[in-house]
């Protein structure tokens, strides 16, 4: 089942517009609100049932008739021949239907500008890399995430010390006071995100946080028009241990924050339980680009809502070496001159 959005006025393809948050016709500028959009009202949503060819779904672009080549988790893409926004509706059904989505707020132009700036930010980025025309391959992806609600509760006993030193006569005295610290906690962590896509580097995705959950919208397929979207590779159960680990670190920090008046704190007994209360499947917006440079893979990623940029541009070793030597000699000279003067 292929979903494509056609303009009521002129029949051209419509795509999601980051400025207005609406569907917008790329040729006549006609806008269509997504919130009030009714799935059953097929007025401007054209659903095409494809022939089911045994087990493999074959999708055909309704603009040009080319078959759409997708990976098995892709839920939205562009026709690789004519560029029309295509949403694969049957892959967004049942358990694969996202509950909520944060729509893109950063437009492609803004993302490209940020990428340019990012390339220039690091002094050590090789010239060859900067000049290469990579900027076109930057892609807006709705990355599947699970948002977990977790509860951490339990008891902790720790030994805390307060140390004071003072002088008296010919001696220095060190006085150590020992305390038993009892804590009982009941912490609720809400909407802790975990990236459920196989392709995305977990560490990079973690660095893209925070997302502003105030802008979470009830999921509707038109949000995906003109972006790449994927369904999850990992279920919430598969990701639970990773999120639990993260939250238990948060809980430890919470406890340590209640003992800051002590010079040292050692846990003697810790009985904490982490329970999953809820997990929501959502799509979060990311501008991404992966690229090879001299046999290493690099990734540029940008939070499609806040604009936070993550990733390392490649570093030119020769540039670093030359800078190091020149800077060293200059600093040596300056140091020697200052010494001469004083």
């Amino acid at each position: 089942m292929v979903i494509q959005y056609k303009c009521q006025n002129c029949g051209a393809d419509m795509g999601f517009d980051t400025k207005s948050g609406k569907l917008k016709c790329q040729s006549c500028g006609h806008e269509e609100s997504i919130e009030q959009y009714n799935q059953n009202n097929i007025k401007d949503e054209t659903i095409y049932e494809d022939l089911k060819n045994n087990e493999v779904n074959q999708y055909k672009c309704q603009n040009c008739g080319a078959s759409i080549i997708t990976e098995k988790n892709t839920t939205a893409t562009n026709c690789s021949f004519c560029g029309a926004a295509v949403i694969l509706g049957d892959r967004l059904q049942g358990t694969y239907s996202p509950i909520e989505v944060i729509p893109f707020k950063i437009s492609k132009d803004e993302a490209q500008a940020a990428f340019k700036k990012w390339c220039n930010k690091s002094f050590f980025t090789p010239k060859k890399f900067k000049s290469a025309n990579r900027i076109k391959s930057i892609t807006g992806i709705y990355v599947p995430f699970w948002l977990f609600n977790l509860n951490v509760s339990g008891d902790i006993l720790a030994q805390g010390t307060k140390v004071r030193t003072y002088d008296k006569g010919d001696y220095i005295y060190t006085e150590t006071k020992y305390y038993d610290l009892y804590r009982t906690i009941d912490l609720d962590y809400i909407k802790v995100p975990a990236d459920a896509s196989e392709k995305m580097d977990d560490k990079v995705m973690d660095k893209l946080e925070p997302f502003d959950y105030g802008e979470l919208k009830k999921f509707k397929p038109p949000y995906l028009a003109n972006y790449i979207a994927e369904s999850y590779n990992y279920t919430d159960k598969q990701l639970l241990s990773r999120v639990k680990q993260r939250v238990s670190k948060y809980a430890d920090n919470f406890i340590l924050n209640t003992t800051i008046e002590y010079s040292s704190v050692n846990f003697k007994y810790k009985n904490l339980k982490t329970i999953q209360k809820k997990a929501e499947y959502v799509l979060l917006p990311v501008w991404a680009m992966t690229y090879d440079y001299e046999h290493s893979e690099y990734m540029f990623a940008m939070n499609g809502q806040t604009g936070k940029v993550v990733g390392k541009p490649p570093i030119s070793k020769s540039k670093v070496a030359i800078t190091y030597i020149v800077l060293s000699l200059v600093l040596t000279l300056i140091c020697r001159l200052i010494w001469q003067i004083f």
Partner: protein, 263 residues
Amino acid sequence: MCIPYDIVFASDKQKVYDKADILTTEEENMLNDLCNESGKEVKTDIVICTDNINGGANKRKKYLEDFHDNNNFGYGSKEDVTYILINMNSKNRGFEIQAYGERQEHVNGDRINNIVSKMTPILKEGKYYDALQLFVDMVYNYMLDEPSEQEIKEAFANSDKSEYEEDNNVMKMIISLAIGFILSGIIVGILVSNSSGAITVSGADYIDKSKRSLLRRNDIYIRTTVTKVKKQSSNNTGIGGGSGSGGGVSSGGSSHTGGGGSF
């Protein structure tokens, strides 16, 4: 060169400056004569100062250097002169010996140490006249006694400024190089590592702030332990322990040997 005039001029000058007033007029005159006579025989000036100055060894050293710069002491064309300063300030009792001129190695560091250790007990007893008499005698003897080759070598090593400064310049260059390379290593390191994003969220961003999270908080005092360590004292009072390393150059440009102690 009118050597006879110099001799007369230098020899008959006042040699005792008792500003702290620790000597009787009679003692002053006797010491003055002793300085002049002994000095004439060994062809050097011997000058005694007493004063009340606020400060330790460095102040004493500077005092004598300034005294040398401001007064025209020095026997003959060789400008040989040996000074002693006794500081009677109640907080900083001490004394300082400095020798200038071509034969300054006759009163070198080791010899000054020797004088200091002999004088200290006498000064402690308050016998200033006796101590100063001993000083003049010892300087007199040292002026007759050629310093050993070893002593000359040491004195030479101490006073050879150019060689010392060359060493110093090499050291300064090495230290500058080390600072330059380490500092630029840090700067380049920061520039390289700065180019990636960082995690900016913490537990506080996801915690439900609307509910009570800390149900119990109980701190119970158990016990106190106290340990003690003896302080390391750093203010050694140098009883009789002089230092012969107080040589230097006065602001007027005269190099000298020197040393002193407190009593």
